[in-house]
Subunit: 377 residues, 2 copies
């Protein structure tokens, strides 16, 4: 399938214009667009510019409020902060929360911020990366709309509940950046899989039907996932969904992925006084965040701590691969390499993504601007 190529800066400019055409302020549009284009550059297209169409429908339904007040402080101590996002733009709420977390951690050595009544914040790794760029260890997790079934159940009442952690390092070693959904395969990754679309088959142990049986037909899997999306926003639990990391059996420790997902529910909704994924409407309204920043200075001389972390990472980078063509990676490597390549050679967009962009361009009268930055391969 022929793809399109566009330059990073061009995509940023036009996507931002489209967001402003939807009514986003300059600041809102630049914050959101930055995250989306960064995701596309890293080949994380499930969290890239194509998400724009989702926000169009959330705006229409009134679940995403561009005129929401700034996040307000619910509770604060020198090492913690609880914010209320008032259903505003998730990226803007997260950006404010992370900047405050960084500021407080630099002063107190450590800070945890929880946020309730927020909204989708894109790919989780963006936020710990911001903290690590400031020399701090960064941690985040978020609950999400429900699409995952707990171990022993076919009730879809948990989110993909990603956990992301970044460690600053030093010298040539890039930062450690783990960003993982706590299910076997994230919602967007399954839906946008070119491999599954072409073969029509989803491997076993990724998604189950309403009776807990593995679904392997790609179309059926999509129907099951999107059937939920088409339904009303009532919190009535749907059935069937993605399996937690480890899969369907306790022998292979599916209960560990479920345990991690439930941990995320407690760290986010639990500590923010917010709602769990089970009650998050399909429009993302009410999502809760958890952020933590830790200054390495808590453990001694910052430079020495970071060097020691780097040395350990380098030890694992030396691991002998089974196939010499598939080297052992450090979390963050894959996305960083994609990003470097995208900055040099442009961002690749599939025809499906371009079709979505064209639709938003029509709505926002940016058709000419969009076409001018797309190059067909």
């Amino acid at each position: 399938m022929r793809e399109y190529t566009t330059k990073y800066d061009d995509l940023y400019r036009v996507a931002k214009e489209m967001f402003m055409g939807l009514g986003y302020s300059d600041h809102q549009a630049s914050t959101v667009t930055n995250c989306l284009v960064e995701a596309d550059a890293r080949h994380l297209h499930s969290h890239g510019v194509a998400a724009m169409m989702t926000y169009v429908s959330h705006l229409k339904a009134g679940n995403l409020r561009l005129d929401a007040p700034e996040p307000t402080t619910v509770f604060e101590t020198p090492t913690s902060l609880v914010l209320d996002g008032h259903s505003g733009v998730g990226y803007v709420i997260a950006d404010i929360a992370v900047k405050k977390t960084i500021q407080k951690a630099k002063k107190s050595g450590i800070c945890i911020t929880t946020v309730r009544q927020a909204n989708h914040y894109g790919f989780a790794g963006h936020w710990p990366e911001m903290m690590a760029q400031e020399g701090l260890i960064g941690i985040t997790c978020t609950n999400t709309v429900r699409c995952v079934c707990p171990t022993r159940s076919a009730e879809r009442n948990m989110g993909t509940n990603p956990i992301s952690v970044a460690f600053p390092t030093c010298g040539d070693e890039p930062m450690f950046l783990l960003d993982m959904a706590t299910c076997v395969m994230a919602h967007g990754k399954l839906c946008r899989s070119q491999v599954f679309a072409e073969s029509g088959v989803v491997p076993e142990e990724i998604i189950v039907d309403g009776k807990g049986r593995c679904l392997t037909d790609f179309k059926e899997a999509l129907e099951l996932l999107f059937h939920g999306d088409d339904r009303s926003d009532s919190p009535k639990p749907d059935t069937g969904g993605l399996l937690p990391l480890g899969g369907s059996t306790e022998t292979h420790s599916g209960h560990k992925g479920y345990g991690l997902a439930l941990l995320v529910e407690l760290l986010t909704g639990g500590l923010a006084g917010g709602i769990p994924s089970k009650f998050i409407p399909l429009a993302h309204e009410g999502i809760c965040f958890f952020f933590m920043a830790i200054d390495p200075v808590l453990f001694g001389d910052t430079k020495k701590v970071c060097e020691h972390v780097r040395n350990i990472i380098e030890e694992y980078r030396k691991t002998t691969p089974i196939d010499p063509d598939l080297p052992v990676l450090i979390p963050g490597d894959k996305e960083r390499i994609s990003r470097e390549n995208a900055l040099k050679n442009g961002i690749k967009l599939s025809p499906e993504i371009v079709e979505i962009l064209r639709e938003v361009a029509r709505i926002t009268n940016k058709e000419a601007q969009l076409e001018s930055i797309l190059e067909r391969d």
Copy 2:
């Protein structure tokens, strides 16, 4: 196979006597025995009294020092502590570290303690449970001897690297207590599996050989794991081992389990100035710990925060199971139920475990005491 039953208090008393017979002080023996008997009561026999035999060999080899000085403070701030364990008894080091972490968190709201040059601390869940019993959110992880292979490699250079988190709740809802190795199946769980021993078969996607191929013959799997144990303590990497949570393929997200395991290496060895699992000799010497205690008061009124956490747990407890006889569990349920049963009806010990105990009893001249507390089913 006929099992043995013994009373909790009896097992504690005799096991403690055996430890003292090995040269442990009263305090050392009670700290270790408490953790081991608690593990057996929870049906976590891989971390129960049978571990005693391992410590006998470590003592003999000089890798476990009963006369090690008390852990010393390497670095300290109001919210952090770095300790050096001087290769003493891991349980005693962890006990001191956790008590200090609790004390500091109660004063500062939060505390992270890292420990280098420690030793095996038993089942990880014990330590967050101590913190949650004091009303704090408790977190721990530890690196371990190497037995896990990173994604894309058959080099055994990571530990089972468990992560454990406890949340205090309130009312009738017991605490949330997640305790999970970051590999598909923990070393001890595989080795002591009655099911695998009887069938002779290990399911696919649990352990791989030196070329990265799944091993399914139980005897071969044991040989591979214990072959390592028989080798010298040099840090030369062995090959073949357990798979990270998610298994061997990236489609099923084995890289997430690997990412979590590497995260544990950075939080423990990295932040303690200690060594990674790759360099931990097979006698456990040099293991590093990470502990964090968070006072819920950081997020508002403690009672309200704990009630809110409880409400979310209760929401997930209501999840409809696929099989009504297999209810959806909350992390910690299984072990708590086993423990309650053991306190009421006694602790069950397999003939293999009893044989190990008899061996230690012979060494320590406690044969009569041991036999007097064992009842054959």
